[in-house]
Subunit: 335 residues, 2 copies
């Protein structure tokens, strides 16, 4: 079978092959292979999200590591569940395959995806495969609200303090190193590239955060700090003041970019959590509670605008106020 | 705003624009605009499915009627829920947009999708937009098992009689008329093309079918009668005998194809239901009960093979035993 290409295999055979060996949890009554999956009823409210990774837009197969790309396609969805403080349960996968992508690459992508799903306790309950001009993986992920309430974007209030997990800008640099837009060597390069391929898993951190009363407002940073904070400000009808000098940067980021904090502000692909809490929480206390590094970066204000204070200022002329897939297309420049 | 192209609009603005005016049901606690949608818990088991429509594979924008294409992208998912006998509740939509597709086209696609969702009682609870080389619409649809049990592919038993709803092959002919592979004029052409653009809604029929005891085995015919019946045979470990002369054909089908029943056997895109019942049900009784035309086409046998009897035999050399997206690519020939 291994020598047959996906063009010789039919869609049904390919799905069966890719889903072979998938372990299903107790909640899944019927997994891949029927018109729909059947999942047990639950008393908890459901979470539902969809995200897509497209070759030439979000990744390039020439970068290699197809298993990591497969894992990453689920990770970006897990991040949405983490930002609500929920627990992921089941997903369906739409795989679009272009001519020239071999069965081995697909097998590796799916192996990475299956591992990632297993680690996160997510059942891959169904899928669809189609031809297309780009290779792409689109995942719809179902989850549950595990605590009392989900964390939303519309509940930030003036006076709230703004925190982020992890360090920002690393994945954006990794992506630009891979695409040849930036150069770096050695440990810094490896670290940043790895940060692109392996987004952080903030599911536990999100769940612990959602247990705080009142429920924090939160979002995951996928399109860049400024753009994603902007979504909270817009939905909550508030403003914010951010202290640029407090943005958490990794040593690798500093080694490559020095004082240029623009990628940390608007690079995108971080998949860290940004959240807003009533005043009084210390960074060290939150870091212990969430079991993830937490940094205070500013506060929510009544004035409906975003102000960046501090001596370091991001140069936003490079990539606007955030990474927007429809506006920017660095990968396309490679072609 | 109408004069701005989607390249000037950002992803967030575009989603907001496309989702504007979406009416949400009581079950939806939080709709589009956050990391995830939140949907109320339900005591019923869940159904989950995903399907994708890709330009150049499943449709061609040059055919026009973008609103119907938008509606159709949901209809093909509704058909999966119908085949389980379930009730659809909520969906998330991934829209991939290529250069050259204007805002007006996207607006029309989404208008058709919104209408279709409203008619089916489905909430569009979230979405994602990305750039790609093809326009595509991928929908993950959530539903509920409404009766006692869902209809599955793995429960057909020897002796069961096999039925289908509607007429077969029309949509496959419509598709080939649109793509220029076949020609026809007048009423027959309009009828067949319309059957491609507007798949039948068999949700009610599916729900009424699932109420029969014992629960029928069922599937929707999306890849052609032979291929989809094949899935039931494989999963149920049985065979079947089909009487070719009993396959329901429309007058338009007969006008264009005469005695050639191959498209009815393996054309695909029908989105009719195929189901298996213990002997004793009359076509007229089922037609009344399901409020859809029902025809008996054969029976399930113990021998694990599919036999087509009758004087008319399908010519399967043309498109194999069913339409498989990865194997066939008639649309690509247009380019």
């Amino acid at each position: 079978m291994a020598s047959r290409s996906h063009k010789q295999l039919g869609e049904f055979e390919l799905i069966s092959r890719l889903c072979a060996g998938i372990r299903l949890g107790r909640r899944t009554i019927l997994g891949p292979g029927d018109d729909c999956a059947i999942i047990s009823a639950s008393r908890r409210n459901l979470l539902l999200t969809v995200d897509s990774m497209v070759e030439g837009v979000h990744f390039d197969l020439r970068w290699g590591r197809p298993a990591l790309l497969g894992a990453r396609s689920l990770a970006v969805n897990l991040s949405d569940i983490a930002a609500m403080g929920g627990s992921p349960t089941a997903c369906v996968v739409n795989l679009a395959v272009r001519d020239g992508v071999g069965q081995r690459t697909l097998d590796r992508i799916y192996a990475g995806l299956r591992n990632s799903a297993h680690e996160a306790g997510v059942d891959i309950v169904g899928g669809n495969i189609t031809r297309a001009s780009d290779l792409s993986i689109t995942i719809a992920l179902l989850g549950e609200v595990t605590g009392g309430a989900a964390m939303r974007r519309d509940s930030a209030r003036p006076g709230d303090e703004i925190f982020v997990t992890g360090a920002l800008g690393d994945a954006a640099l990794g992506w630009r190193l891979l695409s040849g837009e930036l150069t770096a060597r050695g440990v810094a390069r490896s670290y940043l590239v790895d940060r692109f391929f392996r987004p952080p898993n903030r599911l536990r951190a999100g769940q612990r955060l959602a247990a705080i009363d009142p429920t924090p407002s939160a979002i995951d940073i996928s399109d860049g700090l400024l753009q994603d904070l902007g979504h909270i400000l817009e939905r909550s009808r508030v403003g914010a003041e951010i202290d640029a000098s407090s943005i958490p940067l990794s040593p690798a980021y500093r080694a490559v970019m020095g004082d240029d904090i623009s990628y940390a502000f608007s690079g995108g692909e971080d998949y860290e959590l940004l959240f807003c809490l009533r005043p009084g929480y210390r960074e060290s206390e939150l870091t212990r509670r969430l079991r993830a590094p937490v940094r205070r970066i500013g506060r929510i204000t009544r004035q409906k605008r975003l102000e960046v204070i501090g001596s370091l200022q991001p140069d936003l002329s490079k990539h606007g106020a955030g990474w927007d897939q429809l506006r920017s297309s660095p990968l396309k420049r490679l072609d």
